[in-house]
Symmetry: C2
Subunit: 187 residues, 2 copies
């Protein structure tokens, strides 16, 4: 596997997050990555293809990181859903945090017919299903309902943090999540 391909992917990921996708030209990407357009277009047939790969890799990285955190720290199977927002807080408050790819992408490509919007929407749905799985393992009755609510808190908190770094929104999202989870367990 070429290391240049990864370099382009990583550079694009960073630039898309910090400058926006539409505001980042391929000339900028190759200049920062230290390569040329010919190489970029060898690995990624179009800019749209590159964007889709960036989104996929970002989401995979996040999901893998979160799943490892939860797996390595939970004793009982019902611990995971309770610890979820602890690790989300860790992720959001990390100095490396640049935002959530699919949230920004869906805003830049608002048309539901657009492949980038569709991928974003799919990733959001899959993340919600992941939370739903955690809720099910914790024997929560309305697992899907709780998962949807937690995902709203999550996306709201990420949105708040994207607007103003260090907003502290995640602290309150965590509190709200605890209340909702406790309420759902007692049912």
């Amino acid at each position: 596997m070429s290391t240049l391909r990864d370099k382009i992917l990583d550079t694009a990921t960073d630039l898309f997050q910090t400058r926006g996708i539409n505001s980042t030209g391929v000339d900028t990407i190759v200049a920062v990555a230290g390569t040329t357009k010919m190489t970029l277009y060898k690995y990624f047939h179009t800019k749209e293809g590159l964007i889709l790969e960036v989104l996929n890799k970002s989401q995979q990285d996040f999901q893998n990181w979160l799943d490892n955190k939860l797996t390595n720290n939970s004793k009982a199977p019902s611990d995971k859903i309770k610890q979820l927002f602890d690790f989300i807080e860790e992720w959001v408050t990390s100095p490396n945090f640049l935002g959530m790819g699919f949230i920004k992408a869906s805003a830049e490509f608002p048309n539901e017919e657009n492949p980038i919007h569709q991928l974003s929407s799919k990733q959001s749905r899959e993340f919600r299903q992941y939370i739903s799985k955690l809720a099910n393992e914790a024997k929560i009755k309305d697992a899907d309902g709780l998962a949807l609510q937690l995902s709203l808190l999550f996306e709201g908190a990420v949105q708040a943090e994207q607007m103003k770094r260090g907003s502290g929104a995640i602290k309150y999202a965590k509190k709200a999540a605890k209340l909702l989870i406790d309420g759902a367990i007692k049912q």
Copy 2:
């Protein structure tokens, strides 16, 4: 007051929401509005100026609409915060709903130094303060905390609806909001 200026403003608002801000050129705006670039640049000195005015007007319209709804329907002063998500639901599920301007704009202009990002951030903060005022009038102790949590639910639900129209997310946001409000009142 010129009617053409308003026509340009309305057209830009619609196009920015449906196609994205960066993806909408001024040529498209004037073509759809049925005028010319000379007229657009007479009223708005730059595209950035137009964007800022579009965001301001959108937010004013939304806030006015919401405030009228709440004022005309609340008997006791504490009713407003309880009815908040009823009207948010009405707004989100309306066929005219195209998303929240400042949420999309902040994603398209992620740099916190950017004037458009800064306006978006300010609008989000002001909306949270508005909710905070409602919570205070309802004699809720941690009014700011509750307002922040409700704003996270709000932005999360809007985000969800922007990703997939008819997601039904607002129903669950409403339930969660009721739980959080009741919890905050009992304290």
